[in-house]
Amino acid sequence: MRKRFRLRIHEALEQMYFLGVQSLPIVFISLGFVGLMMILELAFHMRLVLKHDALVPAFSAVLMVRELGPVITCLLLTSRIGAGIAAEIGTMKVTEQLDALKMLSIDPFDYLVVPRWVGSVFAAISLTVVAIAVSLWGGALLAIQKLGTSSGEYFNTVFFFVKFPDVIRCLLKAAVFGTLIPFIASYQGFRCGTGSAAVGEAATQAVVRSSLAIIVADFVLTYLFYAI
């Protein structure tokens, strides 16, 4: 038991590195630009309707923490790892590696899914936190340059609207999405048919279904957190 547990920690670390650390650049760039875009877009809307843009930083931050931060990050994560997980497990099934694992008394679920799950949840949470930090920071830079807000004013308005429980809920969302990705992708891999076409199909389905699941789960969670 002890050995097997160590084996899994090793695997989990591998996955945390692959899913978390190696996804940092894409999340950094994407969410940074999303942060910038939101400032511009909301400034436009606010000026159009309210003739005033003082609440732009607050609204963009609220939207970022409550929705876009975890959702965009996890959709990016899906596109990066969903196909990979499904294809890897699918290939292992096609090449009898799964059977080989069973014959070596290793549970493929323990060996393949659990570490990916740990890695994916770790990656989803870490990347979401980084994403929010990056988008707030990017938004601050643009708001100061473009809207003439001072940094103090920016963060005051932002943190009047965004409370710490929002961040906790946001991380809960990330954890749920981070769970959905490897489970859906692994499921697609395990039920993969024979041949390389089937592996490709499994990979595509993994991305499509994980993305769909994330968007639906986001609605459900938002409803549970804020609408009840």
Partner: protein, 243 residues
């Protein structure tokens, strides 16, 4: 002791095994021969519960193979080693990891130096040197991968050894070496061996007994000597192949 009783298995419309009954005695080395796609590999997988039969029963070491009963299945698998037709090595880890996995998982040994010694021993049994240990499976040739795969199976020291096309894709020298190994394991360590193959030469060289499968049924069963004189049409085709 492996006993197969009236086992049938279909894939969709195609019935690959039809009421198969056979037995493998302890320490015996049985070759299951037949053309490609007659269900030889399926038979092996049924023996370790990787597939379930539609009807019939299989017992290994007195335990009933039942895909539903995971505890018994785990016990059976602990006694068995299966060498797959394709190497089926885990591509994400090194050769050393691949071979030592089973040793760790089955808790045959927990001492790192002991594990390493075992890995080296099994590697030399399949005629590979230690240079491959740090490499990843994808860096190796097919025949080397296959030998690593055999080493991995031997590393868990099974009582029952099941080979699925062990010599396919191997050069003649390696084939001869493997045949010697199988014979040695069977004779010296009294390992019960089932080899699924279409390599008639190996069968003659190693096998105690031969079973010939055709269209889901056993068309011949008996020793090598008997096989040579068999009148079954498929046996004749195999004989022609041999000589």
């Amino acid at each position: 002791m492996i006993s197969v009783k009236q086992v049938s298995k279909s894939f969709g419309e195609r019935r690959v095994l039809n009421q198969i009954t056979m037995q493998v005695a302890p320490g015996e080395c049985v070759f299951v021969l037949g053309k490609s796609g007659v269900g030889k590999s399926v038979l092996l997988k049924l023996m370790v519960g990787l597939n379930s039969p539609e009807s019939g029963e299989i017992h290994v070491a007195g335990l009933k193979v039942d895909a539903e009963n995971s505890q018994t299945l785990a016990q059976i698998r602990k006694k068995c080693g299966l060498v797959f037709q394709f190497p089926a090595l885990l591509d994400s880890v090194s050769v050393f990891e691949n071979i030592s996995f089973g040793i760790r998982a089955r808790e045959i040994s927990v001492n790192p130096s002991e594990i390493e010694a075992k890995v080296r021993e099994k590697l030399s049994l399949v005629g590979l040197n230690e240079k491959v240990l740090g490499k990843f499976p994808t860096e190796l040739s097919f025949s080397t991968q296959k030998r690593v795969s055999i080493a991995r199976t031997l590393a868990v020291e099974p009582d029952y050894l099941l080979f699925d096309e062990p010599t396919t894709g191997m050069d003649p020298i390696a084939t001869t070496g493997l045949n010697h190994l199988i014979k040695k394991l069977s004779q010296e360590l009294k390992v019960t061996t089932v080899v699924v193959s279409h390599d008639i030469k190996s069968a003659f060289a190693v096998g105690d007994r031969m079973i010939l499968l055709d269209q889901g049924q056993i068309v011949f069963e008996g020793s090598a000597e008997k096989f040579k004189t068999s009148t079954a049409s498929l046996a004749k085709q195999f004989q022609e192949e041999m000589f």
